[in-house]
């Protein structure tokens, strides 16, 4: 098992380098030459050349990229052009809320989605099945922001049930009410795809020999479905939930922007809109690394859930 995980880690290195290179490019396209900006409008060419040398701008791109990575390893992501704070400090403040939002969304989406999917599979072809599948297609087609707009408009504004802007604090410190609406927005988007995937997976397992054997033994139907079918259907579902990580991440960016949730996504969007390149590249990098890590975790979980993979 350890070997597979190491193997998987090795595969993700080129992807990580790709992410870093993209972020590095982001810093290269700053419209003005940083050396000229620092030297000022009347500077002599020699002064500019000296500053270029000092900043390492005269070196070749590969060397600059290498130095960029070395800086990253030291935790130096530069300073924000707007607030002049260290980017790494700004990021540190935003990662917590983003993780909180994603976990909240998953806690809503995974149980509901899996329950609906199983229900649909067990009652295949019935009205329940059709209804659930219709909801799930509608859910897949719904822009995240539409759900958010509806929730803000009704739950937040008209009925004034829950707060819908900002974050009052961590969940354990009275922040739960402000988390509910953003997490619900993010979770509702994911229910559709998860229900669909669970349905397919459970249907496949329900036709398997061991399910027939379990039924033939005279086990109760609930036991057959929960212990035999659902447990085995978990394997594809987990992988496919991993594939939804992209959905989750994109959804989080939108949700954070809508609910003024102080997370990485909102930081990234704000930085891009205000041309704050150092902050933008830091935030995009963190989001991409988060995506890579989610996929990595899913793969590890996959090995853990499916003993057949371990033995090969």
């Amino acid at each position: 098992m350890a070997r597979q995980i190491v193997h998987r880690l090795l595969i993700s290195i080129p992807a990580l380098l790709g992410v870093l290179f993209l972020c590095f490019c982001l810093l290269q396209v700053v419209p003005a030459d940083p050396a000229m900006v620092i030297a000022g409008p009347d500077a002599k060419p020699e002064t500019i050349a000296a500053i270029r040398q000092e900043l390492g701008l005269d070196r070749s791109i590969p060397i600059q990229f290498f130095e960029y990575i070395m800086r990253l390893l030291r935790g130096d992501l530069g300073r924000s052009i707007i607030s002049n704070k260290k980017v790494i400090e700004e990021l540190a403040l935003t990662i917590g809320p983003t993780v909180e939002l994603m976990v909240g969304g998953m806690l809503i989406a995974v149980p509901i989605g899996m329950a609906l999917g199983t229900l649909a599979a067990v009652n295949r072809g019935s009205l329940t099945d059709r209804f659930i599948m219709a909801i799930s297609v509608a859910g897949v087609s719904m822009p995240v922001f539409f759900i958010g707009l509806i929730l803000i408009q009704y739950v937040g504004f008209r009925w004034a049930l829950l707060p819908f802007t900002g974050r009052t604090g961590p969940v354990w410190d009275g922040g739960l009410p402000s988390l509910i609406l953003p997490a619900l927005t993010l979770g509702l988007v994911l229910i559709g795809p998860i229900a669909r995937l669970t349905r397919t997976a459970v249907l496949e397992v329900l036709g398997a020999d061991f399910v027939r054997t379990a039924r033939a033994k005279g086990l109760r139907e609930t036991v057959v479905i929960v212990h035999h079918a659902l447990r085995n259907a978990l394997i594809p579902v987990v992988t496919l939930i991993g594939l939804q990580a992209a959905f989750l991440l994109g959804g989080a960016v939108v949700t954070e922007t809508m609910f003024s949730w102080p997370g990485v996504g909102r930081l990234a969007v704000g930085a891009i809109v205000s041309s704050d390149f150092p902050t933008a590249q830091g935030a995009i990098m963190i989001l991409a690394i988060a995506f890579l890590s989610i996929n990595l975790m899913v793969d590890v979980l996959y090995v853990y859930l499916d003993p057949r993979v371990q033995s090969t």
Binding site: I11, V137, V140, S141, F146, A246
Partner: protein
């Protein structure tokens, strides 16, 4: 083109039967009521978008500050926005932009991805590298690519298009490679090579033509998602800039007036929902008819 033939190693029949096959597919699709409904709605929407300049009741950019934030009425079916522009006209023009975004993304991305996949299957040594590149591309969620492109090139339609193209490529490449590898194992490929058919003819006439239906089905399935991603990027302000009408951006603008005039944000959002829903329903139906193995 029978479904059985599709299920067993993806068609190796003469192109002459192409139109017959398509007629069969259409007949099967016509039996699916949901598909017919979705297709008609889509045709209706596309016509509305294409003929927007002629059917739009007002100029989508004409601001009239005496008619700000009016609710839907007989004069303005969808009401007016915060600067008094007619929302129906803007939705028609916005649908145009949104559809173009999705189409360009799917067509360009589909062509590049399809070729990459086919090359990867044909040139095995190159294939490993191509697929590794594709894996790296898969490591970037579409929204992130959009954010990065907007950061590099500045927010605008071109940033969104690049993002949508890049988002389409890896998935299509994988599907195309899968289909092409299946065809590579068929006897007619070997026969073609044995009689000295050139590489380019083998790739274009033997491989590509046989892969196209699979790629096409997959792209139909992806179209809705691509439009959704495009509109989300528009909503985030990474896409079309005001005053250009684009559905995602219109929803974002309406957000600021949500409590006073909810229709400004809701109507464009609904329009996106309807377009994507129809595209998804039609995609599912086409998949079921043409290529049931392509589960997403």
């Amino acid at each position: 083109m029978s479904i059985e033939a599709l299920e067993h190693g993806l068609v190796a029949e003469a192109p002459e039967s192409g139109w017959l096959a398509r007629a069969g597919v259409l007949r099967r699709l016509a039996r699916d009521r949901v598909a017919v409904l979705a297709a008609s709605a889509l045709v209706f929407i596309v016509l509305g978008a294409v003929f927007a300049p002629w059917i739009a009741p007002y100029d989508p950019y004409f601001t009239d500050l005496t008619k700000v934030m009016q609710a839907p009425s007989s004069q303005h079916w969808f009401g007016t926005d915060n600067t008094g522009r007619d929302i129906l006209s803007r939705v028609l023009y916005g649908t145009r932009n949104t559809l173009v975004l999705g189409l360009v993304g799917v067509i360009v991305g589909g062509a590049i991805g399809g070729l990459l996949g086919i090359f990867a299957a044909y040139y095995k040594r190159l294939g490993g590298w191509i697929m590794r590149l594709v894996d790296i591309m898969l490591a970037f969620p579409a929204i992130l690519i959009g954010l990065a492109m907007a950061a590099i090139f500045g927010a605008g339609l071109s940033a969104v298009i690049i993002a949508l193209v890049i988002a389409t490529i890896p998935d299509v490449a994988r599907v195309a490679r899968g289909a092409a590898v299946g065809i590579m194992g068929q006897e007619f490929m070997e026969a073609g090579r044995a009689v000295g058919v050139s590489d380019s003819a083998l790739i274009w006439r033997y491989l590509t033509l046989n892969c196209i239906s699979t790629i096409f089905v997959f792209l139909t399935l992806r179209f809705g998602q691509i439009i959704l991603i495009g509109s989300v990027l528009g909503f985030l302000g990474m896409g079309a800039q005001p005053p250009t009408a684009e559905l995602g951006m219109m929803a974002a603008q309406g957000r600021d007036f949500l409590f006073m005039a909810p229709h400004i944000a809701t109507i464009p959002s609904c329009a996106i929902f309807v377009i994507v829903l129809c595209a998804n329903l039609l995609g599912d139906a086409v998949r079921d008819v043409l290529d049931p193995r392509l589960q997403t």
